[in-house]
Structure formats: C-alpha cells, structure tokens
Amino acid sequence: MEIPSEVRKLAIAAVPPIVAIVLAFLLGSILIFAVGVSPIVAYRSMLDGAFGNIKSFTEVLVKMYPLLLAGLGISIAFTAGAISVGAEGQILMGGLATAFVGTYLGFLPAPLLIPISIMAGFLAGAVWGIIPGYLFAKKGLSVVINTIMLNYIAHYLVNFFINGPFKEPGGYYPQSPRISENAYWPSIIPGTRLHIGIFVALVAVICVYILMKHTPLGVKISSVGVNQKASRYMGIKVEKMIIIALAFSGGLAGIAGAGEIAGIHHRVLSGFSSNYGWDAIAVALLGKLHPFGIVLSALFWAALRVGANNMQRVTQIPVSLVVTIQALTIFFVLISEMWQHKGKLASVTHTFLKRKSIS
C-alpha cells in the first residue's frame, strides 16, 4: 500500500520534466530544420555520439559524475530554501584541496590516500558552503549574491595558486604539479577516462536519499525550506539547518571537484571545472530536487553534452544548439512548476522571497 503511493508520486513528479524535454526537442528541431538539416539525422547523430559505443558511453558517465554530485548538493540547499549558485566555486575548492593532498601526502598508500582525497574535497567544498550559510543565517545576507562572489574568489584563488605557490616547479604553464600516482582514482575500464568516482557518486545518491527522506535531519531541512516561521515555532533551529544544508551542498560539489582532479586531470589547471557547477543547477531543477530524479537528469545532461560534439561533427550544427535545447528544457520545467503550483521549486522560491522581506 505504501510503496505504490510512493511510486505513483514519483511518476507524477516525472511528468513535467519529460514533457519539458519533449517540447524543448520539438522546438530544437525547428531550429535544426531552419539551418537545413533533417532533425532526425541530427538527433540520431546525437544519440549515436552519446550511446553509440562503450567508449562514448563512458564519456557520458565521466561528465555525469560531477553533474550528479553537484546537482545533489544543490538539491539539498534548494530544499532548505537557500538558493545557492555556488557549486562552481565549491568544485574548484574541492579540486584544489584534493590536489594539495595528492601532492603533499603523496607518500601515503593509495587505499589511504584516496579516501583522504575524497574527504579533502568534501571539507573544502563544505567550507565554501558554510561561509554563505553563516552569513545568511546570522546576518541575513543573500545566499545568491554571496555564492556568486565566492565563485569568483575560488576562481581567482585557484589561479593564484597555480601561478604562484602551487605552480609546477620549473614548468611553463600555469598548472600545479602532477599529483602522486597513489592519489589517482583508478579507472574502471582501462583505456577510458571512466574512474571510480561514478561509484562514489552513486553511493552519494543513496546517502542523500536516506538523509533527506529518512532521517530527522532531512525532515528538518525540508521543513525550513517550506516555512521558516512555522519551523522555528516547532523548535527547529532554522539557522543551524540552513548552515548544515549548505555545508552538505558544498561538500558534495567539493567531491565532484576531487574526482575531476584525482580521476581526470591529475593536476589543477585553470578552469578545470568547465562550468559543471552552473549546469548542475539545471540538473537539480530538472531532477525535481529528488536524488533519483537527479541521477536521470544528470545522465541526460551529460549525454547531451557528449552527443552534441558528435552532432557537430556529423551535421555541422554547432554545439550551441544543444545549449539552446538545454535552456529551453529548464525554461519549460520552470513554467510547469509555476503551473503546477505545488512543485518544490515554487515553495522554495516562495519561502526565499518571504524570508527576504522579513529580514
């Protein structure tokens, strides 16, 4: 009796994103048609590019990894009513911390160093979440503004390090030294870039699911997102919950950064995140802030990114068309949220606005 109703709820929640995706692709096909290419051919090449062979599919999973983790993080912040757009900076900080650990603790054996690198990424990202959380909770400062600011600070901090104290000794490029091989996250399929991070991400999905749906802490975090005044009256420490939510949120994005460094680049390069933190916002929204939904939306988003490259090769349609489709998808999802009125985002935005008018 209980499980079916849960399943039904999930199914109902999945309808708007799916409709949004279909609409976005339909509109996208008009654009493709307008440049004189058959939409069917274009979309086929996209599909081929993403799922055509093992190699391309592993690429999809590689890109899915940071989107999934950062998206999960954002969903926690949004559920708490804190509109954080700080994942990008948190990814950078997590990556930077992992590189430090991988370089300076490189003498440690891999079984020890890999967990430490995950931890380092989490902690660095969490700090980057706690700062805006604290400023919001104690001083009422806007989370949106502060997370944007911290994105810049993280960006320039990374550049400072790889141009200065953490620059590869004797190297020419602005990049950090290669981390110790003991810190490398092993690849799952040799010859591809797919690393164990994808398992880390899936474990995180389960953890976030349990946290948000099956622990008192998760209930309190969502309660704060629904109605701060009522939560406070019911004895929930609103400020504390917001800080905790933003700490988890940043920590998960930090792990995303850790994987990018320890699993892919093995050193810090300028702009190593390639905007995953921004895309993750869309991923979280498309996944309706639900951990399982975010798995699907992260997969979808990553497949679009990978597939777009192939489409460009085959049909000469620029990758930016896919960005258009992505934007349209989010646009339609938001419309459906407004239209549904009961959606999470609607209530999240609502509390956010209300809070601002109070403080």
Partner: protein
C-alpha cells in the same frame, strides 16, 4: 420566487475522498441561502465548483434554466457569480483600488485608471454601507475591512450571486452585524447570497433557507423559519447534539504559568501588550476575552517565545522563560496552538503524519537507529486521526488537502499529545463545526482535569463564557477586568471589551 441557479447531481472525488457525491442545490433569486455542514462535508468544494475553480466529475449547473459550463472564475464572474474565500486573496502592499484593478477587464495596458476605480469603489461603499477607503494600503487594514474589500471586489465586477465562505469566522461581533446589513442591502438591491457558516445562531438570524450537507451528500433544504438550531444541528451531525454542556469542575492545583507586568511590541514595532499580569493555575481554564486585534496575538506569541519580550517576566512553574527559545519552552512543558494555523502551526505541504511527528522528530521512538521510524510515525498518526476524528483517507495526505476544520484538529491534536503543563491556545474553534467544537471543548476539559493550566484566547465571547473558569478582558494590550462567567451581566463585559469601563482586580 424564481429559480436563479441550479446545481444538479454534482459529483467531485479527490482520489478516494468523495467530497461531493451527487449534490442538488437550487437557489432562488433574492434569497440568502445558507450551506451548513460538518468540517469536510464538502461545502467549499461545492462552491469552488460553482466558481469554476474545480471541475465536477459529473453533474450540471443551470443558470436561469440554461445549462452553463463554468470552466474558470472569469466565466463565473461573467455569469454574475462572485466568491469571497475562507482565506483572502489580496495583495497586501497594494492599495484597495489597486487590488480591485487586478484582473479587471477593459483596462488599458499602459495606464492604470485608478481614479475611476476609486470613484466607483466609493459609490459601492455608499450604496451598500461597506465603509472602505480606496486609497488605503491593504496591509494596514483589519481583517474585517479586508473582507469588505473582497466583497467590493466581486461587486465591482457586477456579481449578482455573492458566495461567502465562512465570512464571519474572522469577524468581531460588531463587524458581523455590519456585514449582515451589507448583505441585506445587497438582497434588497436584487442580489442573491450563498452563505457558508458553522454558527447556527447567525444562520437563524440572516438566512431564508438552509441546505445541510453531510459527507458529501445533501441531507435536506429547509426554510429557516420552519426550523430550529437544534434541528439543524441534528441534520448536520446525524445525531442529537448538545448545544450546551456542563462545565467540568476540577480542583485547582498550583500556579503554573505566570506573567508579571509584561510588555511587548507587534510586528510593526508598536506597543501591543502593555503591562499584563496574571497567573494560570493547573486545572483551570483562564479565558482572554476581547475584540480581535487588541494584543491577543502578541500576548500568545510572547508567551510562546515567538515574540520578544520588552520588559516584565514570564515564568512556568517558577522558571523564568524570558531568555528561552520557543523550542526550549516546548521542552519544559509549554504547548501553543497559534491562530494562524496555515502560516505558523502547520507545514501544509507535509503529510498529516509528519506534521504530527515533527516536534519530536529527533526523539525516540519517532527515530530508530538514527533513521525515521516510519512505522511508528504512521501508527501514531493513525491513532490520533481516529481519536480526533480527522476526516482523511490516510495519514499520508498532505495537510493542505484537508478542509479547514480538519487542519485545526491536526494542530490541536499535536499540541495536546505533547502532554504540556501549560497550554496556550488561540482561537481553537475558529471555522470548526459544532460537533468538532464540542469535541475540542471536551478535550480542553479533559486536559484541565489532568491538571493542565490552560490559557484560552478567543474573540468568540460565547466560547469564552462557556468554557472558561475565569475570564480576563483585554483592550489595547491592557487587562480591563476579571470576572467569573455567569456572575456579571453581559452588557458589562461588552463595555469592558470596548474599553469604556475598567474594573479593578
């Protein structure tokens, strides 16, 4: 008489809930027609269908003998049907005229012609005795005046049938009188009124006919002059109802909750409670009577810790509460049922079970091995739902889907099940049907017998007199006097409530 409106065999199911199960309703031109029924009987649903907010699963609506499809409120307004909801839908920072302009047809895109609107509002106010300043900001109006704005809003759009969903639940007795005059003027002018209320006295006073609903079906439609309060109550509940009951006498215990010279401000920063002192003893119900807006809300909020105290002292069992957070006050035994159940009391998107559990969510047995103990949470909800007769298919239903009265039951059940030593309870029966009201009063009596100290704040004087052992009258944040119900004439209470007479305590 001619039939203006007919609803035939209206059915509306929400999942398993049969909110309307084949209801027939006919409305005659020029009458005031009451819809009466228990909480969750389907009154609001039926009216929402008439207003185009819900679509019936089955059934038809005829206006002046012609079938109509009311697909949205715009269509309803075109057909001359206007509705004022249980919960107002005004934009607080806007002026009255601006609020009325929203969604008005025939407006220019580039320029808002407020002067015209203001003139017309004044005209309508004059005509029906609805006193409103069109230039006033809605946020600064009292609830009663906001309701007038809602009424003007629909009259402005030319409504001939005015639907009012529990309009008097939020009004002071004086405002109720004024509203009734407006309704009578409206009817004289050719209008027709559909009026939802739980207050039998009002129904007897103002209406021509009454339709009684029970569990989504129509029981009967009767002429008001041929019926009585008792008969209506019986039709509504399906069995004899005591309209009056004996107060339970209990022995007084120790002093539990105590206020000494308490001052505090309201949200606008104006002083709202001015030097209030009283003690509430275990085993007694102390009533606070007074016209709404005289500091009752702030008084309740300052005791529960939502509002900050400026000076004075609040203590529970001798322990000073001044510096404690709302949560710490809950922990040492203070329960609070706020009047704003949807804004403060409940998390409406959450399920009933979660709302019942959330105050203790971090404690055993609501939590087991660090995880939520869903089995216990659901079981606990099941028991409370049964005990308090909350009308719902299951505990998993979100509170927002419950009818107003059932939301109140959930809130009350949660606060009482915490076993508080002192219970502050604000407007506990606002919007509740008489059966539920009786149930809640009996629950209060039961808690009182257990030795709980109860502070009952209500603007419903009848309720205060019926339930309290001792009553204080509040006016502009000060206590005007104290009395034992039944021992002083009602006129004197009225004078105290109006701030005319102050009685030394």
């Amino acid at each position: 008489m001619d039939t203006l409106l007919e609803m035939k065999n209206i059915k509306k199911y929400f999942g398993e809930v049969k909110a309307n199960d084949g209801i027939d309703l006919d409305i005659q031109r020029g009458e005031i027609h009451a819809i009466l029924g228990e909480n969750g009987a389907g009154k609001t649903t039926l009216m929402n269908i008439l207003y185009g907010l819900y679509h019936p699963d089955q059934g038809e609506i005829l206006i002046k003998g012609e079938e109509v499809q009311i697909s949205n409120p715009k269509v309803a307004l075109h057909l001359g049907i206007g509705m004022v909801h249980q919960h107002f839908m005004l934009v607080p920072p806007f002026t009255v005229a601006e609020n009325i302009s929203i969604g008005l047809e025939g407006q220019k895109l580039y320029k808002l012609d407020l002067v015209d609107i203001e003139d017309r509002v004044r005209e309508l106010s004059q005509k029906y005795g609805l006193e409103v300043d069109p230039k006033a900001k809605v946020s600064q109006l009292s609830v009663g005046v906001q309701q007038r704005v809602e009424i003007i809003k629909v009259l402005y759009r030319g409504a001939e049938i005015l639907v009012l969903d529990e309009p008097t639940a939020v009004l002071t007795p004086q405002e109720v009188k004024e509203l009734f005059i407006v309704l009578k003027n409206f009817v004289v002018d050719g209008g027709t009124v559909i009026f939802i209320s739980h207050k039998l006295k009002e129904i007897m006073e103002i209406t021509d006919r009454v339709t009684v609903l029970r569990n989504g079906t129509k029981i009967s439609t009767v002429h008001t002059k041929d019926t009585s309060e008792k008969e209506l109550a019986r039709m509504m509940v399906g069995k004899e109802v005591l309209l009056k009951y004996e107060k339970v006498e209990t022995k007084k215990f120790e002093k539990v909750l105590s206020l000494k010279d308490v001052y505090c401000k309201n949200v606008k920063g104006l002083s709202a409670v001015n030097g209030v002192s009283f003690d509430v003893y275990g085993g007694e119900i102390l009533g606070i009577a007074g016209v709404d807006g005289n500091g009752q809300k702030e008084l309740a909020d300052v005791i529960s810790g939502i509002n900050e105290i400026d000076s004075g002292e609040i203590s529970l069992n001798g322990q000073n509460l001044n510096e404690l957070s709302p949560y710490e006050r809950i922990c040492i035994g203070l329960g609070y049922v706020p009047d704003d159940r949807r804004g403060v009391g409940l998390l409406t998107p959450f399920s009933i079970s979660m709302n019942l559990a959330i105050k203790h969510i971090s404690q055993q047995p609501y939590k087991k091995y660090g995880l939520l103990n869903h089995a216990y949470i659901e079981q606990n909800a099941k028991e409370i739902i049964a005990e308090y007769q909350v009308k719902t298919p299951s505990g998993q239903v979100p509170v927002s889907n419950l009818s107003g009265g059932n939301q109140q039951k959930v809130l009350l059940a949660r606060e009482i099940s915490c076993q508080p030593q002192a219970l502050v309870i604000s407007q506990p029966t606002r919007g509740l049907d008489i059966g539920a009201m009786e149930f809640i009063h009996k629950t209060l009596f039961r808690k009182k017998s257990d030795g709980t100290a109860i502070l009952l704040i209500s603007s419903d004087l009848d309720e205060i007199l019926e339930v309290s052992d001792r009553v204080l009258v509040i006016y502009e944040g000060t206590i005007m006097g104290e009395f034992i119900p039944g021992l002083i004439p009602i006129e004197e209470i009225g004078l105290m409530m109006a701030g005319v007479v102050k009685k030394e305590r």
